[in-house]
């Protein structure tokens, strides 16, 4: 018998989906700037990428404020509890209709693997992209900031590594969105805020 709990608040859902759209658009324009394919044309791609990046910065200002004021940042504190159980579940239990080892609550809405993954995004992938991205944007200011000896190829390569990590996260994330209590329960929750739990 399943019940529903309210896990994702309005702002959180808005944050998630607008961030998702921006990140997809940033990957689309970013890999064009990288020379992977031709879509908008280099000049437009750079312009769109820049606008999308600043929009994401704006969104993050709100998101950081929201996380701090609501205490929701605690959702990302890593835990080792049930990590092994979760891994086992993804590797075998899920095929045998074993019960999901993690029971969501409003205070623990992410399973331990999610916590680790999101923390990795927050602590590693995002800072890498943000720092290299900002440097990239202000390339013309490096000398004035005393960074004259910095090489664009290093910054650009760092940014590219960040983009690939984001792409890999993105692929896994979309798939794992179907790995909830039912294949659509996570996705529905992200849209409506209500998650079906056992």
């Amino acid at each position: 018998m399943s019940e529903k709990i309210y896990v994702f608040k309005k702002f959180e859902r808005f944050w998630h989906w607008s961030q998702a759209a921006l990140i997809m658009f940033l990957m689309l324009t970013g890999f064009e700037i990288h020379g992977t394919y031709r879509n908008f044309g280099f000049e437009k791609a750079v312009g769109y990428h820049t606008v999308a990046a600043w929009t994401l910065v704006g969104l993050w200002v709100f998101a950081v404020f929201w996380h701090l004021t609501t205490g929701e940042w605690k959702q990302y504190i890593p835990t080792t509890e049930k990590v092994v159980a979760m891994t086992k579940y993804y590797l075998s239990g899920i095929f045998k209709h074993a019960p999901h080892p993690f029971r969501q609550t409003q205070l623990r809405k992410h399973n331990p693997l999610q916590r680790l993954a999101y923390l990795g995004v927050l602590l590693f992938i995002s800072p890498l992209i943000w720092i290299t991205g900002w440097l990239y944007l202000f390339y013309d200011q490096w000398a004035a900031w005393g960074l004259g000896s910095l090489d664009l190829s290093i910054v650009a390569t760092g940014h590219t590594i960040g983009a690939f990590l984001m792409l890999i996260f993105f692929i896994a994330h979309i798939y794992l969105a179907t790995a909830g209590h039912t294949p659509t329960s996570h996705i529905k929750a992200m849209i409506t805020g209500w998650e079906e739990v056992e």
Binding site: I33, H34, G35, R38, G41, F42, E43, V46, G47, Y90, I94, F95, K96, H97, Y139, D140, D151, L152, S153, A156, T157, T160, I161, A163, F164, L167, I168, I171, A172, I174, Y175, L176, T178
Partner: protein
């Protein structure tokens, strides 16, 4: 009958008088750009029997003019490069067009600002040997045909070359002298548009299309717009015209020139001299574009192609195929537009219009291969001039270049370039006799250089930095023409160009891991579906 009071009538007459006298005081309807009307000088009434007679008249008022000209490259055709101490100038350098001057003075000095330089005996100290008219003519009537050592035809029509049946009409020197004025695109262009022996041949960014160009061909010289003359940028003082192909300014960090400041030290003909070091002010990405100017010369983006005015330029000149005859006579082969692509006395040409430049790091240093410098025949073409530059020397920018390629005669025993005697009317010049050994023998004797008697041909390259024919801003080179693989700047090292460059390892690893992740989740998904069917 209508009676007009006398007072009113008088007033009417007075008004008429007033108008008439005002007309008499008005400035002349044609605005002269000088304070002297040279038609009013009795010294210029003529008749003049020679160029030097005109010059004597000129310097009777302009007392210092000739001696000023004497100090310039336009007069000496000689230039000592202060950086590398090479003795350059038209007199000394070798190129891969008509090759060299020393034994060909009467032909080449048609473009000298003097009269009578037919050989080494020319008197450079004589003031009346300076040709004032060639630069200051405004009529377009003044001509100096090749073969007369810089003299115009005066008096009777002259057959040139002798025996050809072609007669050149004499110039009315008094008429030309009375109409002199400031230099113009036409007067500078009379020589500079025709460098290398014909319209557009040498430079690619200078040809007769610049006489009255549209904005598309040259946004500054645009005859219906800014209408710059050459002198607007190459602003001369004391007859010394700034700007140099021997010591060009590749990187100008000095900002816009303030009048009077550093005028002696700085080249006023650079883009920066007017436009400053941060010239993009209104453009959308102005900061980014200004930053490009740290690495990229203005010309690189703003001259998308040279030879844009409908006049082709020579891109390749192969002397090694010269000398063929048809029915025992010299002949030419022309392309569809009527331009020579083969001539018995010159060899094969490849012409180009709307040519995309090649790009190089360039710091303004140019080193010539001079007569006597060792030349090795190898797979690599001999550099007639070598340019300096690197991404890290702090003095270089990425510059557009016309790279002239060719094959030209050299001495395989002494391993030097040679200075053949080409033009003339004797039995050794190449153009008439088609005999390299004789032509080079004469030429090298005139140059005072040894010649083994053996002739071979060597591939050569010569660099011509492109700087004229600046296009309107909306026609400048777009971002994606360089920010792409195999774009305009392919092969330019030392800069990371987004869109062109990537760390190959990161790219490979990135795509492989992303693909494995994708396959992994697809596999996982398929297994889940299969498992749920079984259940």
């Amino acid at each position: 009958m209508l009676r007009i009071p006398i007072g009113v009538a008088m007033a009417g007459w007075l008004a008429l008088f007033a108008t008439a006298s005002a007309l008499a005081d008005d400035p002349p309807p044609v605005k002269l750009n000088t304070t002297a009307d040279h038609t009013k000088f009795k010294e210029l009434n003529g008749p003049f029997k020679s160029g030097p007679e005109v010059t004597k008249a000129c310097i009777s008022c302009h007392t210092e003019a000739a001696r000023q000209v004497h100090r310039t490259k336009h007069w000496t055709w000689e230039f000592m490069n202060p950086e590398n101490k090479q003795r350059l100038g038209k007199k000394n350098v070798i190129n891969n067009f008509c090759i060299s001057i020393p034994s060909n003075y009467p032909g080449c000095t048609a473009c000298h600002v003097g009269y009578g330089w037919k050989d080494a005996s020319f008197d450079f100290a004589k003031e009346e040997n300076v040709d004032c008219l060639v630069c200051h003519d405004t009529t377009g009537l003044y001509q100096k045909p090749p073969g007369l050592a810089g003299n115009p035809v005066v008096g009777e029509p002259k057959e040139l070359p002798p025996g050809s049946g072609k007669f050149i009409k004499p110039v009315d020197l008094a008429k030309v002298a009375q109409k002199i004025g400031k230099t113009s695109r036409d007067s500078c262009g009379a020589c500079h548009f025709r460098g290398g022996g014909g319209d557009g041949v040498k430079h690619g960014d200078m040809d007769t299309s610049l006489a009255a160009p549209t904005a598309d061909v040259d946004v500054h010289m645009d005859a219906e717009g800014l209408d710059f003359t050459c002198g607007t940028c190459h602003k001369a003082s004391s007859h010394d015209v700034p700007g140099s192909r021997y010591t060009p300014t590749a990187l100008d960090k000095g900002g816009a020139h303030i009048r009077g400041k550093d005028e002696k030290k700085r080249n006023p003909a650079t883009c920066v001299a007017c436009h400053d070091n941060a010239p993009h002010k209104k453009a959308k990405e102005s900061a980014r574009l200004n930053h490009h100017a740290d690495k990229v010369a203005c010309q690189t983006c703003h001259i998308p192609a040279f030879a844009r005015g409908g006049v082709p330029t020579k891109m390749v000149w192969d002397w090694s195929t010269a000398g063929k005859l048809k029915d025992g006579k010299q002949f030419t082969v022309k392309d569809k537009k009527g331009h020579d692509i083969y001539a018995s006395h010159k060899g094969d040409f490849v012409l180009g219009e709307n040519v995309k430049p090649e790009y190089r790091w360039f710091n303004g240093e140019i080193t010539y291969t001079l007569l006597g410098d060792k030349v090795e025949k190898s797979d690599k073409p001999t550099q007639v001039n070598r340019i300096g530059g690197s991404p890290t020397d702090g003095k270089s920018l990425i510059w557009p270049m016309k790279i002239m390629r060719g094959k030209q005669p050299y001495d395989p025993v002494n391993k030097t370039l040679v200075t053949p005697h080409t033009a003339g009317n004797d039995d050794t010049n190449y153009w008439k006799n088609l005999n390299w050994e004789k032509a080079i023998e004469t030429g090298m004797r005139t140059s005072g250089a040894p010649f083994s008697g053996k002739v071979d041909f060597v591939e050569t390259e010569m660099y011509w930095p492109t700087t004229h024919m600046v296009a309107p801003k909306d026609k400048s080179v777009g971002c994606a023409e360089c920010h792409t693989k195999n774009g305009r700047l392919e092969g330019i090292g030392g800069v990371y160009l987004p869109g062109r460059d990537a760390n190959p390892l990161v790219d490979k690893a990135g795509w492989v891991i992303a693909l494995l992740t994708l396959l992994g989740v697809i596999g996982h998904g398929v297994l889940r579906i299969v498992a749920s069917r079984k259940a």
